[in-house]
């Protein structure tokens, strides 16, 4: 049996046990995880799996969602107003953003699909969809960056991410509601964005001094959307884009000299001149590599999983703040070793997702230990007693926090994905999936 055939067969045999892997609901194991050979995971950092489960549920249902309900969600007009003081919950602006509508729509749809099928969640997602879809420009431009509460554009066209996040939200909403026209709309938006991105004159942001751009962050979002959509329904066009993304992530953005990503490359993948020549967004790369690991799980591709895991670990090792702990997200110049030393919550949460993902599949000791240590660090540094939301970022030591912004995407995604991973582990009595042998 060839390697590919083996993985297909193995995947088919275990699909019931692992819920098609991915980040779906825990499904009762129909066969023991006999392929792992690793010992069961009973605790992570001194906490039992059940304790982790309770922790995630409390974070999600007792804190995050009620505060979102109170302060962020526009129950009347639909949408999300994220400019909220994280301590008091006081709203500092009613503005809405295309990014945040797509992200919020995804969060509430995913919640409904995978964690709790409460119609209130679907309604929140639906209202966001109804708010943002009519605002799509009809001239081929990307969504405006921000809108007033009632939907008047406050800016000109924004960037590609606005459209992509809306597409992600729509795809997940379609799964939740069964209204497949939104799945088709999401597909159409992705293909349109990809066409724009493929144009040799495509420039990400005009003010960066780049004449044409390939961006790791773009591949990351394309890939993530497609992984989720292909789990639901085959699509040859999307599969092709995923293949392109994998090649870009593993090869074309990777600097062979120092084995880190260059966030920006020119259209032909040569390195840009100027300040972005050796720029590495370690945060994006770490996030991208866990998404690639998840795509590898979807494909049951062990070598892809290994490559993604290596990239994940490499970028983590470099991004580590060895003095104060935590991780830096931006190496402005690799060779000058010039870091932005502020810390962002999202990067840490992406690491928590990635390490738990590795642990779930392989039982890897490094992943378990890193997950446990970082979970403790994040809860100690990015949160404050009595605050409504976790801080989205702060200074290097997190003694000064970003006070205005309810982070409603990376944070709940990490809570939900890890809750589901923990639940799957509990279902399998702590056994790793072993899907990669």
């Amino acid at each position: 049996m060839k390697r590919k055939e083996f993985f297909t067969a193995a995947g088919a045999a275990t699909v019931g046990a692992i819920g098609g892997f991915g980040f779906g609901r825990a499904v009762t194991s129909t066969s023991p995880a006999s392929s792992t050979g690793s010992s069961p995971i009973t605790t992570l950092g001194g906490k039992t799996l059940e304790e982790h489960r309770q922790k995630y549920r409390a974070d999600l249902f007792d804190r995050f969602l009620p505060y979102m309900d109170d302060t962020v969600i526009d129950h009347e007009l639909g949408g999300f107003m994220c400019a909220v003081n994280i301590e008091t919950g006081e709203r500092e602006s009613d503005d809405k953003r295309a990014w945040y509508e797509g992200r919020g729509m995804w969060v509430y749809s995913f919640l409904y699909n995978n964690v709790e099928a409460d119609p209130r969640y679907l309604e929140i997602a639906r209202k966001s969809k109804d708010f943002i879809l009519p605002l799509e420009p009809d001239n081929g431009a990307f969504y405006a960056t921000s809108f007033s509460r009632t939907g008047e554009p406050l800016t000109g066209p924004g960037d590609i991410y606005g459209n992509l996040f809306v597409a992600e939200g729509l795809a997940e909403y379609a799964k939740a509601s069964g209204e497949m026209e939104y799945y088709d709309k999401a597909t159409e938006m992705i293909l349109y964005c990809f066409d724009r991105y493929e144009d040799s004159s495509y420039v990400f942001r005009d003010n960066m001094g780049l004449s044409d751009t390939r961006v790791v962050g773009h591949w990351m979002i394309f890939l993530r959307l497609i992984t989720q959509m292909l789990r639901y329904r085959d699509n040859a066009d999307l599969e092709q884009i995923a293949d392109r993304a994998i090649e870009a992530i593993l090869e074309l953005h990777m600097d062979p000299e120092y084995n880190l990503h260059n966030e920006y490359r020119r259209h032909d993948y040569s390195k840009p001149d100027g300040e972005y020549h050796d720029y590495c967004n370690t945060g994006h790369s770490i996030e991208t590599f866990w998404m690639l690991m998840d795509e590898a799980a979807r494909r049951r591709d062990a070598s892809l999983f290994e490559a993604a895991k290596d990239g994940f670990q490499r970028h983590m090792a470099v991004a580590k703040d060895r003095v104060y702990d935590g991780y830096f997200f931006e190496l402005r110049d690799v060779n000058d070793y010039d870091w932005t030393v502020r810390k962002v919550l999202w990067e840490h949460e992406e690491i928590l997702i990635g390490t738990l993902l590795i642990a779930e599949h392989t039982g890897d000791t490094w992943a378990k230990e890193t997950f446990a240590d970082l979970d403790e660090y994040v809860r100690k540094t990015f949160t404050r007693p009595g605050y409504r939301f976790w801080a989205s970022g702060g200074n290097r030591r997190l003694t000064e926090l970003n006070m205005v912004r309810a982070e409603h995407y990376h944070h709940p995604r990490h809570l939900m994905l890890n809750l589901l991973a923990i639940e799957r582990l509990i279902e399998r009595n702590g056994e790793p999936t072993g899907i990669f042998g």
Binding site: M254, P256, A317, V318, K320, V323, Y337
Partner: protein, 444 residues
């Protein structure tokens, strides 16, 4: 690069075992030969005797077949005594006949230690002796320092020396004393060290480093470091109350005052009252000096058989090595010039890498420490792949971050030879114990 080559590319790049990643891939000694060290630590590992023997053999070859013959041919002044270190490391060609007080003391130490600890070849002792005879006539009065530079014949070229001229000469004399049995040299070593310490301990003392400039009676990490190691070596020979005082003061200064309580790294310079100066440009953490100072503190703990001191120094040593790691290109940086901004001086000194080796060996030898073992193997491989060039007469002593542009005009004959000799001695002891840890401190 296809996916397969990408994976292998990543695997060939050390992602930092010591700093928490994974990847013992460039090691020169096969890791599958690592064995569980059940006697010390069920989770720990040690090297089997066969591997220890191979490492020993490699180091012996470097010391006796390459380094010493090259020193003999290009650096040692067999006619007039002393060391002429200004030579091209690629060809051995001498750049100048100048000699330096630092290098005389260091060279005297090297050849005396070689004679005492390895081979009682009169040639070695004679090289040390003629260096002593070259430099001692320039001994200054109390409270003053040796001139720093001389021509080949001993004419002073630079009157202004620093405290290290005296200290390295004292260290050299101390080693010469133990090699030759010359008690006068030992007393000279004690007197010179004690006099330098009293000078340093006075508020009128001045030092010209960027962090210490302008401070009255600055406290400087590398001063404590050299005082400590010089005094420790004297104490290995004679119970001197002055030297005990120096080691006590040095250990206390390093661990209780230079160790920054906020970020747990050693600050380079403090005020005379052992307080971190207010001005932020002086808030430098010296990881290279810190690593060196901390292995010396472990060494002193071994002499004292003080397990608490060993453990404290070991923990700090590990932290400094971890923080100093260059996670992108491997190796270790020496100076964190701005701790808050995470700004490093990016050059790489061979000495820093070699001091890591010595400390890691102390951890392996006395604590059976797995971290120390990984650190030793990784650092050893890094040094060999970066600082050693085929056909060169000497190793590279200092370079840029990538070890692509490097100094070629100086032969480093102190840190390098010390690391070779200390590694050989540690290997011998470990081989004698069949690879087991010394058990000196019981279970740490």
């Amino acid at each position: 690069m296809n996916r397969k080559t990408f994976v292998s590319h990543l695997k060939n790049l050390s992602t930092g075992v010591v700093a928490g990643g994974s990847g013992l891939h460039l090691l020169r000694y096969p890791t599958e030969e690592l064995t569980a060290n059940s006697r010390r630590d069920p989770a720990g590992r040690s090297l089997p005797v066969s591997v220890l023997t191979r490492i020993r053999s490699d180091y012996e070859e470097e010391l006796f077949d390459r380094f010493l013959p090259a020193m003999d041919k290009y650096v040692v002044d067999h006619e007039l005594g002393g060391f002429m270190c200004d030579a091209d490391i690629r060809t051995g060609e001498r750049i100048s006949g100048q000699k330096r007080a630092w290098y005389e003391g260091r060279g005297m130490w090297l050849y005396s230690t070689l004679y005492h600890r390895f081979r009682q070849d009169p040639k070695y002792l004679n090289i040390a002796k003629t260096s002593k005879e070259f430099i001692l006539p320039h001994r200054p009065g109390k409270g003053r320092f040796w001139p720093s530079r001389y021509d080949r014949y001993g004419n002073v070229l630079d009157e202004e020396g620093d405290i290290f001229t005296n200290l390295y000469i004292a260290e050299g004399l101390s080693a010469y004393a133990v090699a030759s049995g010359d008690e006068e040299s030992l007393q000279q070593a004690i007197d010179i060290t004690w006099d330098a310490f009293r000078t340093y301990d006075h508020s009128e003392y001045r030092y010209g480093s960027p962090a210490a400039r302008g401070l009255e009676g600055p406290r400087v990490l590398n001063h404590w470091m050299v005082f400590l190691f010089t005094a420790v070596q004297i104490l290995e020979q004679v119970n001197s109350p002055e030297m005990r005082h120096i080691t006590d003061r040095s250990v206390e200064a390093v661990l209780s005052y230079h160790m920054n309580p906020d970020y747990q790294l050693l600050n380079d310079t403090l005020t005379h009252d052992l307080v971190l100066p207010d001005d932020k440009e002086r808030h430098i953490a010296s990881t290279g000096l810190g690593i060196q100072t901390l292995w010396m503190t472990m060494y002193e703990a071994v002499r004292r058989q003080d397990s608490n001191l060993f453990q404290r120094a070991a923990d700090h040593f590990k932290r400094h090595v971890t923080v100093a790691k260059d996670p992108v290109y491997g190796g270790y940086f020496g100076t964190l010039t701005d701790v808050a901004a995470n700004r490093w001086s990016l050059n790489k000194a061979l000495g820093v890498q070699e001091e890591v080796i010595i400390g890691a060996l102390l951890l392996m030898e006395h604590a059976g420490d797995s971290w120390g073992l990984d650190c030793f193997l990784e650092t050893e491989a890094y040094i060999k792949s970066h600082f050693v060039k085929n056909g060169y007469k000497f190793w590279i002593s200092g370079a840029d971050r990538f070890v692509e542009n490097y100094q070629t005009g100086r032969v480093e004959h102190y840190h390098h030879s010390r690391h070779l000799m200390f590694t050989l001695l540690a290997m011998d002891r470990m081989i004698d114990r069949s690879g087991d840890a010394s058990n000196l401190f019981g279970s740490l």
